[in-house]
């Protein structure tokens, strides 16, 4: 049975093979090829080969230890998947609405999704968002994301 300890190294080996195929496509200038013994391709090539060797060693080590297939949960639970979606939605909202409105909206949606009824939590959330906005934009004069719409 396949488990994480087998799938992950194989996945890295496949990615490494793809990277290895990309390395020859680097456009190295002709003058440089004449002068240097080690060029732009050297480091990535060594690293990718090392990565493949390490992954093979991990597979061998796993086989040697005769690990039983772990009965573990999936990589993403319902909550972590929600967190991931929240991150992406927040990043998109920030691009559209700017920091202040996006953060107020995202915090409200987050608390509503988790069925929070405490008013104090909502008030704290709004205070925090506005405080950070004030601190960055007015005290430190650091620009925060501005949206396309606002």
């Amino acid at each position: 049975m396949l488990n994480r300890n087998i799938v992950f190294p194989i996945l890295i080996i496949v990615i490494s093979a793809v990277i290895l195929s990309l390395i020859p496509q680097f456009t190295v200038p002709v003058y440089y090829q004449q002068d240097a013994s080690v060029g732009a391709k050297f480091f990535p090539t060594v690293l990718v080969i090392a990565q493949i060797i390490i992954c093979i060693a991990l597979l061998v080590q796993h086989r040697a230890k005769k690990h039983k297939a772990q009965e573990s949960d999936g990589l993403f639970s319902k909550m972590s998947f929600f967190g991931l979606c929240f991150l992406v939605v927040y990043a998109v909202l920030i691009g559209l609405l700017g920091y202040l409105i996006a953060s107020l909206t995202a915090f409200t949606l987050y608390l509503a999704y988790l069925k929070t009824k405490k008013l104090s939590y909502y008030l704290f959330a709004y205070f925090f968002v506005v405080a950070i906005y004030y601190l960055f934009s007015h005290v430190f004069v650091i620009s925060l994301p501005e949206g396309i719409i606002f």
């Binding site: 990277i19 060029g39 990535p44 920030i94 950070i132």
Partner: protein, 493 residues
């Protein structure tokens, strides 16, 4: 020298300078604690405020920000697993473990004391032997930098507590990520796929925000159940006298290491913290405690990163060469004040130089006092329910990632690395080696290739240059002792 120092101390406590110094340290702590805002950024942000100031007051304020900023980064690293600055990345390893055990106040007090020891010793060395240290640092050329980076990379094996192979894999992932962008010698685009934002490479700050903060937020969210919405209780106990005795030798040693590393141009507080952490773990009788809330590990990282504060000023003040980004901003501040850094500064403007030295001593004391007095206040963060803390971490992370370059691309990088960190945590692959490799990778590659160009393709620089050879031997020794320790642990379990 002593006369100048006393005059400087008098100036540091004067009504014109002391409030400015406190403002600088406090501002630095606040800025450093905010993810994404580094000590360098803090000094740069406050630089325009100094244009109208008298030279000594201006430099004192900026140095206060620098010292406070390096310490400030550890507050969020300890409490939220979100390093405020790259210099605090090593602090997370043990600092956050202590917070999880309900010992946030103890961790913060240890961080404050170790930072103070690191900063104080570094300043004393700066005052005493700055010119000699500068001469040593100037002997560093490409082969020495490569060897130093190689030595730093051996730490990967050390921080990979469970599996060296998985640690090495994480290290190669980080090194590979560090090759993205224009290659440092011949400007060949590598893995850029025509995306302009990738030409400058991947910035380390969104990576660390993603790997530590966002991935932690996702992990916490997963653990969030109805009964766990309120943060667990924690102890208000500060460090004990026993703790102090335990961390003092490590702190002093790390301070010395940090000062030496800081004096080498290009090697900053982030590298120093990891090197000192590794060294403390290597010589420890209980290395298994490291990564699980070791107070020595925390002290080593903190004394190591604050030890850089004095060291980095050595080449700046003695030679006019900025050793790192903060020193470059300080160089700008000196020039704005009409001063020329270098050997002549000591003879032409001793009041400025010794004013800076004395203020550094006072700034470190101020940092200690503010750090200790503020612990109760900082710890309130731990009382915030996790339900609220998770989006707070996410918002601060996104804002911090954006603030570096005003770029949504960096926000995307932070989110991507957040997901990567979350997945790797589940696979029991350590994430610290990725960060370490991204920091040290460009240094290793650039200097290896420069060395090969200098030696016309010969690898003899590895054994012909004494300092480089010393670092390589240290790297081999460090790797050997780590592997031996792992074998011992494996055979005993």
């Amino acid at each position: 020298m002593i006369d100048h120092l006393f005059v400087g101390l008098g100036a540091a406590f004067s009504l014109a300078i002391f409030p400015v110094l406190i403002f600088g340290v406090l501002g630095g702590i606040i800025l450093g604690a905010l993810p994404g805002l580094t000590a360098t950024m803090g000094v740069a942000i406050l630089l325009p405020f100094t244009f109208g100031m008298e030279a000594t007051a201006a430099m004192v304020m900026l140095i206060g920000v620098y010292i406070g900023g390096i310490f400030g980064g550890s507050i969020s690293a300890i409490l939220l697993k979100t390093p405020g600055t790259p210099a605090s990345a090593a602090t997370v390893l043990d600092g956050y473990s202590l917070t999880q055990k309900g010992e946030a106040a103890r961790a913060l007090s240890i961080a404050a004391v170790a930072s103070f020891v690191g900063g104080l010793i570094s300043t004393i060395i700066l005052i005493a032997i700055a010119p000699m240290l500068a001469e040593f640092a100037l002997r560093f050329n490409a082969p020495e930098y490569f060897a130093l980076a190689l030595f730093g990379l051996t730490i990967i094996a050390s921080v990979a507590s469970k599996s060296i192979l998985k640690g090495l894999l994480a290290g190669t992932i980080g090194l590979l990520i560090s090759t993205v962008g224009l290659d440092p010698i011949s400007s060949v685009p590598r893995f850029t796929f025509g995306i302009l934002d990738l030409y400058n490479g991947i910035n380390v700050i969104p990576v660390l925000i993603g790997l530590f903060a966002i991935s932690e937020a996702l992990t916490q969210l997963e653990k969030l159940h109805a009964k766990e919405k309120i943060a667990e209780k924690f102890s208000n106990k500060l460090m004990s006298l026993k703790d102090l005795k335990s961390i003092l030798p490590t702190s002093i040693k790390s301070a010395l290491f940090g000062t030496s590393i800081g004096a080498v141009p290009g090697a900053g507080a982030d590298i120093s913290a990891f090197v000192c952490y590794n060294e403390a773990k290597r010589v420890s009788k209980n290395p298994e405690e490291f990564g699980n809330g070791s107070i020595r590990g925390l002290a080593a990282a903190e004394a190591g990163n604050n030890g850089v504060t004095g060291g980095s000023l050595v080449p700046l003040l003695t030679l006019g060469v900025p050793g790192d980004a903060v020193a470059a901003v300080l160089l700008g501040a000196l020039i704005v004040q009409g001063l020329t850094p270098g050997p002549l500064l000591f003879t032409q403007n001793p009041e400025i130089v010794y004013g800076i030295f004395s203020s550094m001593l006072v700034a470190n004391i101020a940092m200690l006092l503010i750090g200790l007095l503020g612990i109760r206040f900082f710890c309130q963060i731990s009382k915030v329910p996790k339900l609220l803390m998770i989006p707070i971490i996410i918002f601060l992370s996104i804002v911090g990632a954006y603030a570096i370059n005003n770029s949504m691309f960096d926000v995307g990088i932070a989110i991507s690395f957040g997901v990567l960190g979350f997945v790797l945590n589940k696979l029991e692959v350590p994430t610290s080696p990725i960060l370490l490799a991204i920091i040290l990778g460009p240094m290793a590659e650039t200097n290896l290739r420069k060395s090969l160009l200098m030696f016309e393709g010969s690898w003899s620089f590895l054994y012909e240059r004494p300092i480089a050879l010393a670092f390589i031997l240290l790297a081999i020794f460090s790797l050997w002792s780590t592997i031996r320790r792992h074998r011992k642990t494996a055979s005993s379990t």
